[in-house]
């Protein structure tokens, strides 16, 4: 028990922050906030997008990089695949979206590992290109009004009262958790972030590992693009909204360190939930939207201190 606690200080401290926020909101406005309808809307309908994005962001940061292009890949993938989904050609739509995501991710990975461009700059460039291409493809014509058999992908309930989007997110979470925690690839990923030279010296193809990470990010972003279209019933170049900054914030609140080698997808889930609940609670309380970003910033700092304090406490208690 104590061992478990010690090992998972990170994760547990995040959960308590989430609970504090949820409890706080519940005290302030119990009827609107603390009912199953609201909680399930936030967790099963709004949060999955931020969660999926922060998986990718977290993995990039673990390898000591960052992926600034994900939000733009979301947009480009949805703009390019939208018309196929609209015409009911779901297979083709998925194929195109995922191909776009993989290509953009591969471009990032190649620029970073083979050419040696800093991850921030490589993805900054891809960000420009992807969003710019989306503008060109769109040319002011938004795609809207998708057929019901497409929108089911997000809104339908394969399992009663659990929307498919939540199910998809859970499956992806399990896959990524397994991939990052239980496989050689996952260990190489952490190692590559921790010390890339040592990783290469120990015979691991670190370049390949990092390239795969960015490709996974591209695929995740493309998936988010498709699911987002199904949720919003539209594809347009502004669709990504806050996703980029929110996913960075979620990763950071989740304790992912830009020093590399530290962080986890389960923490990212909690980080994303914290952010989405903050936005939800502040909407419900009708607090000016101006405050939201500042509050997110304060919560990031708070979570860092909280983790430090807990870390120190457990060290003292349990040596």
């Amino acid at each position: 028990m104590i061992d478990y606690f010690k090992k998972n200080v990170d994760f547990l401290s995040r959960i308590t922050i989430l609970l504090i926020i949820v409890a706080g909101m519940s005290v302030i406005n119990p009827p609107a906030f603390l009912n199953w309808n609201n909680l399930s809307t936030v967790m099963f309908q709004q949060a999955p997008f931020t969660i999926l994005m922060s998986f990718g962001m977290t993995m990039a940061i673990i390898t000591k990089g960052i992926d600034k292009s994900m939000a733009s890949i979301v947009v480009l993938a949805s703009m390019l695949s939208g018309s196929y989904f609209k015409n009911g050609n779901l297979a083709m739509g998925f194929l195109i979206a995922l191909a776009v995501g993989a290509a953009a991710g591969l471009l990032n990975g190649t620029l970073i590992t083979r050419v040696g461009v800093a991850p921030f700059i490589a993805t900054y460039g891809t960000d420009f290109i992807a969003l710019g291409l989306a503008y060109v493809v769109c040319a002011g014509r938004y795609i809207y009004d998708f057929p019901a058999n497409f929108r089911v992908i997000t809104n339908g309930c394969f399992i009663p009262s659990v929307p498919n989007i939540a199910l998809v997110t859970m499956i992806i979470f399990i896959l990524l958790w397994f991939l990052t925690r239980k496989t050689i690839f996952g260990r190489s990923m952490y190692l590559a972030g921790f010390n890339v030279d040592a990783t290469i010296l120990s015979g691991i193809d670190a370049k390949k590992v990092v390239t795969v990470v960015y490709t996974i990010n591209g695929l995740l972003a493309a998936l988010v693009g498709v699911l987002y279209m199904a949720r919003l019933n539209a594809a347009d170049p502004n669709i990504s909204g806050n996703l980029c900054l929110d996913s960075i914030a979620a990763s950071l609140i989740g304790g992912t360190s830009f020093g590399g080698g530290k962080g986890s997808v389960s923490n990212a889930v909690i980080g994303a939930l914290i952010i989405v609940f903050i936005r939800n609670g502040m909407n419900i309380m009708n607090i000016s939207t101006n405050w939201q970003q500042a509050v997110v910033g304060f919560v990031i700092i708070f979570s860092v201190f909280y983790e430090m304090a807990i870390g120190r406490l457990t060290k003292k208690r349990m040596g």
Binding site: G140, L232, P237, N286, N290
Partner: protein, 330 residues
């Protein structure tokens, strides 16, 4: 010998261009009777730089389309520029585009400012350079910066009109959400003010919540979904543009309340018209972006040929509901 051929060629080109000018003129005379042939001759070949708010949203791309239509009609060269930083644009980028227009010696600038206040110094530079300015859609603030004409819809009036339509459909009582556009955006401030004034005339209507969704569909969907938790029995949602109205409609749809909650937008985009015909949105208005762009260039051409333009040109807005939506759909 060579020189002669060149001269002959030049004469030919000159004749051809005059002919082209004339034919353009006659074309235009038949299509819109407002401006005379003399005007077309005077403006043909001039360069008008049209600076939009952004290069993404259907509204501003339609304004650009209107500019280009008018340009083709009057035989002027239209260069459309816009900040590339996404929906809503950036004042700074726009100011740089204005200066770029001065550098490329444009004959006239037609501008849709991102920020009423922030664009003033850039417009003053156009004044100093002697380049006439036509202001479209969002008004340039203050009196220091001069412009020849202001072509727009009245945003305050539009907000008032849409909110009033909602209030009447609610039969004067109930709860309402007001969804604002990007915080600080002039169009959002004006439309919201108009809406609140209209709602103020109905003592039994309360504004249950007033939040910004940054003119963005995805944001609006989340915000309205959240607000529906706070006030599930809301009767109407006023949105400052169509994108947010469509996002609200999706949120309402997700709560299985389509048709129970009245939603209004502004702009009259194609997808909103579909939503109105399907009953998920109650009303929008046709703010005629193509017309705004067209008359922007029209006023510019008028100024360039006659030395004076209409100080204001009001674009009429038409309330669109299920009753008349078919007239606006192609």
């Amino acid at each position: 010998m060579k020189k002669r051929i060149v001269a002959l060629g030049m004469v030919c080109i000159a004749v051809l261009s005059i002919l082209a000018g004339c034919s353009n003129g006659s074309d235009k005379n038949t299509s819109s009777g407002d401006a005379g042939t003399a005007e077309t001759k005077a403006v043909a070949g001039k360069e008008i730089v049209c600076i939009m708010k952004d290069n993404v949203t259907p509204f501003h791309l339609s304004v650009a389309e209107g500019c280009e239509n008018a340009g083709a009609e009057y035989g002027v060269k239209i260069t459309v520029q816009a900040p590339v930083s996404g929906a809503g644009g950036s004042n700074e980028e726009q100011a740089q585009l204005v200066e770029q227009a001065i550098a490329s010696q444009a004959d006239c600038v037609v501008i849709v400012p991102v920020d009423s206040e922030g664009i003033v110094p850039a417009i003053k530079k156009l004044n100093e350079a002697g380049i006439p300015v036509v202001n479209v859609n969002t008004k340039i603030a203050g009196t220091e910066a001069k412009y020849e004409s202001f072509v727009a819809i009245e945003n305050y009036q539009v907000g008032y009109q849409m909110a009033k339509a909602l209030c009447e459909a609610m039969e004067g009582k109930g709860k309402m959400f007001v969804i604002e556009g990007t915080t600080g955006a002039q169009t959002s401030i004006d439309r919201t003010k108009g809406a609140l004034d209209a709602i103020g005339e109905y003592p039994d209507i309360v504004v249950a919540a007033q939040q910004s969704a940054t003119y963005n569909r995805a944001e609006a969907m989340n915000v309205v979904q959240n607000l529906l938790q706070q006030t599930p029995d809301v009767d109407a949602i006023f949105c400052c543009n169509d994108e947010m109205a469509l996002g609200s409609a999706e949120a309402v749809n997700a709560a299985n309340k389509t048709g129970e909650i009245l939603i209004s937008g502004v702009d009259g985009n194609a997808d909103t018209l579909v939503a109105i015909s399907e009953g998920s949105i109650y009303a929008t208005c046709n703010s005629n972006p193509v017309g705004q762009g067209y008359y922007g260039v029209y006023e510019a051409a008028k100024y360039l040929s006659e030395g004076a333009a209409d100080p204001t040109y009001a674009i009429e807005t038409i309330l669109i509901t299920a009753e008349n939506v078919s007239e606006f759909m192609d």
